[in-house]
Symmetry: C2
Subunit: 320 residues, 2 copies
């Protein structure tokens, strides 16, 4: 008897700082069910990760107490459930799968983050899993290229031959948040979020970052001074600031020789990056959406031999 | 009878966002008395600027109700007592003195800020007064050069022939404050101030900003990642961040062709900038301290003809 697509094979958790996304995956990594809760590691009452885990997976594991489980993200940090020490570069599916941490009481595997040492120390935790998911979806990326993961701490990752070879973090999302909520720039605009589609003020900010010299701490002040001299509306200043910040990230990334091939993550944010890249003449960039579940499946294939019988994906050979 | 040095001639107020510094000046602009209160314009109860003014100057004006008074800083902004519209560039003592606003009820003159229009819109309010004070103290600067005013919104001002010709703002101080108090970088270090003398971690941050590529939003993340890979102590990370931010400002300023000749402002902060400039090989920079009172005196000399009899300064001809 061959397994049916509806048979549950893996519990996969993308467990970050502010949110928890849980997936029940079937043969070939297909998503059978999904849940999202605001139970990031900083929001778990009394740090009782076990209680959250049990509640989330109880129903899914009900019929199969041996159902394997795997998690990525900040749940493996020093502030998480069990620390999964960073794996080294270059990193491929095999080396990461060999470095999984395990929570003994429940058998949960936790994916390690990646650390880059040397002249440009850098770290990621969670994005490595999204990268392996993206490689499974894009043979072009897997063979070689740069993937950009926008977010609080945006990553530009260099991929070659199915391996993560190096990466650079830009604190763009967190900079926008602290400036909008805690600086004079937000007070001017009456701080709001920036979830809307990027407008002309956004593109104008991108072009300012592209064309002006003076450094980022000067560029961001232009979100205030351009209003005060009457050349930008106060209510547009956060859109403009978003453009300046993402524009400077793109300027710096391109200047360092990275040319993005794919965008990974939340579609509205990826759309902002695609717009910004377009202002620099980089137009043929694919947006892959959220690839965490796909990445957790790929890593689990290496960690749980019993899953390989359940992998119907023709792409496995690409990323294995 | 010649006036004596002890005769009060002018009440001079440096009235900013968070603090008020008041000076009673005598002949030649000599400081007879000074007061400092945390009554910046955002902290004045019920925005009753008149009450604060009356209380501060009552004693000083007691013997001479006609004693002239002048103020600079955010007191002349839209959030201040009376708005003093920005003056244009280039700006000299004469053009600024002709643009003073006046608070009718008490006769207080308010110095306008400066606005730079065109390709690089920028504004200052308060620093123009410090610049005129610095020119009165440094004939070299007055003839031509770049002055740097570190602070919340640091300014690099280009001076020639006694005029402010252009300037660039770097939001370095505010960036440090919001990152230390509201971002993951501060949480890592256990946010504290950064008032101590700059240490080796500061210089290391400066050198990283000098040597690394990648843009500021990438550089600042290194204050976290370098700790996480074990190459920087968590308690040193804010010193390092301070170095990265000031170092990137210096890098950008020098790259745009500005070569600082003097530093103006709070001595401990100027010392940080001098250290940072030294890492870039710029070593012969004078630190002038706080020049606001000297600048208010110079502007008042143009605004109040009766003061010119009281000006014993031999430098007046340089800056007039």
């Amino acid at each position: 008897m061959s397994p049916t697509a509806a048979a549950p094979r893996l519990v996969a958790l993308d467990w970050g700082t502010t949110s928890l996304r849980a997936y029940l995956l079937g043969d070939g990594g297909i998503v059978l069910e999904r849940r999202a809760e605001p139970l990031g590691i900083l929001n778990v009452p009394e740090r009782d990760f076990r209680a959250v885990f049990d509640r989330i997976v109880a129903e899914w594991r009900g019929s199969d107490p041996m159902l394997p489980s795997i998690a990525s993200g900040m749940i493996g940090s020093a502030q998480g459930w069990i620390e999964a020490p960073y794996a080294s570069l270059p990193a491929d599916l095999g080396s990461v799968a060999r470095s999984l941490a395990i929570v003994p009481t429940v058998g949960l595997r936790i994916v390690p983050g990646l650390a880059q040492r040397g002249r440009a120390p850098d770290v990621m935790r969670g994005e490595e899993t999204q990268l392996f998911g993206a490689m499974a979806q894009s043979a072009t990326l897997s063979s070689g290229g740069v993937a950009v993961l926008p977010g609080t701490h945006a990553k530009w990752a260099r991929i070659a031959g199915g391996r993560v070879e190096g990466f650079t973090t830009y604190m763009t999302g967190e900079l926008f948040a602290v400036l909008a909520h805690h600086s004079i720039l937000g007070r001017l605009a009456g701080a709001t979020g920036s979830d809307a589609a990027p407008g002309e003020a956004f593109a104008r900010g991108v072009r300012h970052a592209r064309d002006a010299d003076g450094g980022l701490s000067s560029l961001i002040f232009s979100a205030r001074s351009t209003v005060l001299v009457g050349e930008l509306r106060a209510e547009d200043s956060l859109e403009y600031l978003s453009g300046v910040l993402i524009g400077d990230e793109v300027r710096a990334g391109l200047a360092s020789g990275d040319r993005p091939r794919v965008l990974i993550g939340e579609p509205a944010l990826c759309a902002r990056y695609a717009t910004a890249l377009g202002e620099f003449g980089v137009v043929d960039v694919d947006s892959l959406g959220d690839t965490a579940a796909a990445g957790l499946w790929q890593i689990a294939l290496h960690a749980f031999p019993e899953l390989q019988r359940a992998d119907g994906s023709s792409r496995r050979s690409v990323s294995a």
